[in-house]
């Protein structure tokens, strides 16, 4: 019985790993192909099945005038916008989440849960609902086609995530902890940053990771709200979709765009392995 379970477990894990890795392997292989190797028949292994070329990768750093897309600047733009918006969202979201977790709010029929739901409900809206109003909003305040404008929009996208994760996290941090801090002479702000915050790092890491992911992978707003001054990575990469879909350079760009987040995955995993991702206070 035990053996069967172990066998099934490893089988399942292996199958799932294959499922996860397969498209990446395919992307790696495809990124070294050209029109010819993609369109005549299915090929897998470089040299054996097809003659590899670096063209798919080169396109990503070539200027558009040479048929490339030059993702270097957009890459850094994306990092900047994602990190800034995540940081602001985390700060504001964590404060709000703390308030919602610890204090009681009442206004008419509105209670804490309703406020939390209000935050989360921002994510219900399909991006298309917001795109036009945001466009007009940003153009009114003069932030269209700017990094700052994107940061403003991304805050709306990301703060709900931060609030959701952190409310959940704070709810699991015993409130006696902050009470003890208050009793020990901290005012609420000191209690928050001297005691609650240092003990919330695991929660902040998860929230931060989700913010970074959701910021990094957004395409729609970056697409609608920028013109020429500012370009983000996904928008730039999608501009490779000409009449011919260039499988090779899209594969290369898919790999390149996921790369920085793999670091995030390792950081998160490290906290998971230390066993204190959310259990620090148990």
């Amino acid at each position: 019985m035990e053996k069967l379970y172990t066998f099934l477990k490893y089988t399942f894990i292996t199958l799932w790993t294959v499922f996860i890795v397969a498209p990446f392997l395919w992307a790696v292989s495809t990124s070294f192909k050209d029109f010819q190797s993609v369109n005549s028949k299915v090929t897998y292994i470089p040299w054996l099945d097809f003659e590899p070329t670096l063209e798919g990768w080169r396109v990503l750093v070539k200027s558009p005038a040479r048929g490339g897309v030059d993702i270097v600047e957009p890459y850094f733009n994306s990092i900047f916008v994602t990190c800034t918006a995540s940081l602001v969202s985390i700060v504001l979201g964590t404060l709000a989440a703390y308030a919602l977790s610890r204090f009681t709010f009442k206004a008419g029929f509105i209670r804490n849960n309703d406020i939390t739901f209000f935050f989360i409900s921002q994510r219900i809206m399909p991006p298309i609902v917001l795109s036009i109003p945001f466009f007009i909003f940003l153009s009114t305040i003069g932030l269209l086609d700017s990094l700052l404008g994107l940061v403003v929009v991304y805050i709306v996208l990301l703060m709900p995530i931060a609030v959701w994760i952190m409310v959940d996290f704070f709810n699991r941090v015993p409130k006696e902890l902050d009470e003890t801090a208050l009793i020990d002479g901290c005012n609420p702000y000191q209690a928050f940053y001297k005691v609650v915050l240092p003990n919330s790092i695991p929660g902040l890491i998860v929230a931060g990771m989700f913010c970074i992911i959701f910021g990094w992978i957004d395409f729609f707003f970056a697409f609608i709200l920028t013109f020429t001054e500012v370009q983000l990575l996904p928008v730039k990469v999608v501009a490779l979709n000409s009449s011919i879909t260039p499988w090779w350079s899209l594969s290369a760009s898919a790999l390149i765009s996921v790369a920085p987040l793999i670091i995030v995955a390792f950081v998160v995993e490290r906290y998971l392995s230390k066993g204190n991702l959310s259990g620090a206070l148990k």
Binding site: K41, P64, I224, I244
Partner: protein
């Protein structure tokens, strides 16, 4: 070494038949793109542009994704910047989003781009936001060479809003190595009792495609299929449907509208002509590659260009891609007019008129305009003029991935194509095909009315349902016609009629 190279280039250039004297000059040294011809004198030549000074100014352009149109836009932007000192910012956007990307700021009263690329059938929606092309440019020599149909496409009621930089049409591409193969001709005759030749009707097209479907007829170890077509319900598939419908529904005896009856504004798209075309098309799902029902233009180009299918019809791209030197079917393809039909619907008599009918579809192509709110209109038009100057144009049309296709009388010369390595008879069939389309008196122009997108999307949705087997062709087109009526009511019949009459006038050869 360099001098030898230059000499050779010059020699080759000299042999070309361009009316202008071609020679390597200081401009081609600086801009290798035009090394074949050197600068060709004109109002917007390299020479002329270098005399302008736009330093300190910025030109903003939204163009298509790289490389089709996107690469030449960026390339000429770079050249333009070098020549005039201007700063040129270029953004690249996938085809499906070009409309919205320009339309959102237009409607919000903004002009983030001085120059917007799009399709020629955007003209009715866009023209109120675009600056007309000034007389200075319409009178230019390079404009005189543009064919009348392309002037017509770029204009609205006689006013040119889009600067001609490209020409587009749908035509048939076929595998010459199969159709002209005597063995296959014999085999086909034996098996079907019919001749294997370039199909002249959609029925023949279908029979041949079905015959050459799902077996390895080029001996590469992979299966080949009958036809690659744009069947994916996106922004291009209804164009394929119109191409297939033109022969059945564009009756030279019944002027006054292809999509609507101009008098009553009744949608015509559910008449037996269109139903016949859709029935053909549903049958076509049997002879496309696996997944062919989900092919977009890119898939079509990849499939035909990769040697997977016998036929394909749509824009130039698939043909030019197939003729690239590294293509597996280089010089194995032929071009011909879209197939016709042996009957055409007559809506006046409510019956079929028997007899061969063929109607080329001047599907929209790349178009580009200058925003009315742009503060740099002069520079913007200079850029476009420079983009399409003769030296650039001649270099551009030879590069398949650029997507710049013939639209000037001078382009319809076989030599233009043989010099980039095409076989002579292929080049000849290509230019003949294109030139014949220009001459035809039974042409169909794309729908350019308020709500164009709604009309086309409604049709595409209905056609897609028929292709997927969700509805019968008649039911699908009835549904589309009903939606067209709804759209008409929303938009206002008179608005649509007014706009549509402009296109009908071109179809009826009145412009």
């Amino acid at each position: 070494m360099k001098t030898i190279k230059t000499c050779v280039t010059a020699l080759i250039s000299a042999l070309l038949v361009f009316s202008n004297v071609a020679y390597a000059d200081k401009w081609s040294d600086q801009f290798p793109h035009i090394k074949a011809t050197g600068d060709i004198p004109g109002e917007c030549s390299y020479e002329s542009m270098s005399k302008k000074d736009y330093s300190g100014k910025t030109l903003k352009i939204n163009t298509h994704a790289v490389p089709v149109m996107g690469e030449p836009t960026a390339l000429h932007a770079e050249q333009f910047a070098k020549l005039t000192g201007a700063k040129v910012d270029v953004t690249h956007t996938p085809a499906g989003d070009l409309y919205a990307k320009a339309m959102v700021p237009f409607q919000a009263g903004q002009a983030p781009y001085d120059i917007v690329f799009g399709f020629s059938n955007f003209i009715n929606d866009w023209r109120r936001y675009l600056a007309p092309v000034p007389k200075k440019y319409t009178d230019m020599k390079q404009m005189k060479d543009v064919t009348p149909s392309h002037i017509g496409i770029a204009s609205w009621d006689g006013v040119m809003y889009q600067f001609p930089v490209d020409g587009d049409r749908h035509y048939l591409k076929y595998r010459k190595d199969v159709i002209d193969n005597p063995e296959y001709q014999k085999k086909y005759k034996a098996d079907t009792g019919k001749e294997l030749k370039v199909p002249t009707t959609w029925k023949e097209y279908g029979e041949m495609a079905a015959y050459f479907n799902d077996w390895d007829w080029d001996g590469d170890g992979e299966k080949e299929y009958g036809s690659a077509e744009v069947m994916k319900k996106d922004d291009l598939m209804y164009a394929a449907f119109y191409s297939r419908s033109a022969a059945y529904s564009k009756n030279p005896k019944t002027p006054g509208g292809f999509f609507f009856d101009l008098e009553t504004m009744t949608p015509l798209i559910n008449n037996p002509g269109f139903v016949e075309a859709l029935t053909d098309w549903v049958a076509a799902t049997k002879y496309v590659p696996p997944g062919g029902i989900n092919f977009g233009l890119g898939d079509e180009i990849g499939s035909f260009g990769g040697g997977q299918t016998l036929f394909s019809f749509s824009w130039d791209d698939a043909f030019v891609a197939a003729m690239q030197p590294d293509s597996p079917i280089n010089n194995k393809v032929g071009a011909a007019q879209l197939p016709g039909s042996t009957k055409v619907w007559n809506r006046n008599t409510n019956s079929w008129d028997e007899g061969f009918n063929q109607a080329p579809f001047f599907v929209w192509g790349w178009a580009v305009g200058v925003a009315k709110k742009s503060k740099e209109q002069e520079m913007a038009f200079d850029y476009l003029c420079f983009f399409a100057n003769e030296a650039n144009h001649q270099a551009d049309i030879g590069i398949g991935r650029f997507g710049v296709n013939p639209f000037r009388d001078a382009d319809f010369q076989a030599d233009v194509w043989t010099q980039i390595g095409w076989d002579k008879d292929i080049a000849q069939s290509y230019v003949d095909t294109l030139a014949e389309m220009e001459k035809s008196k039974n042409r169909v122009f794309p729908l350019r009315v308020p709500g164009t997108f709604e009309f086309n999307a409604a049709l595409a949705t209905a056609a897609a349902k028929a292709l997927a087997g969700q509805l019968s062709p008649q039911a699908a087109l009835d549904e589309a016609a009903k939606q067209w009526n709804d759209i008409l009511n929303r938009v206002g019949k008179d608005n649509v009629r007014k706009a549509y009459s402009v296109g009908v006038a071109m179809e009826d050869n009145k412009l």
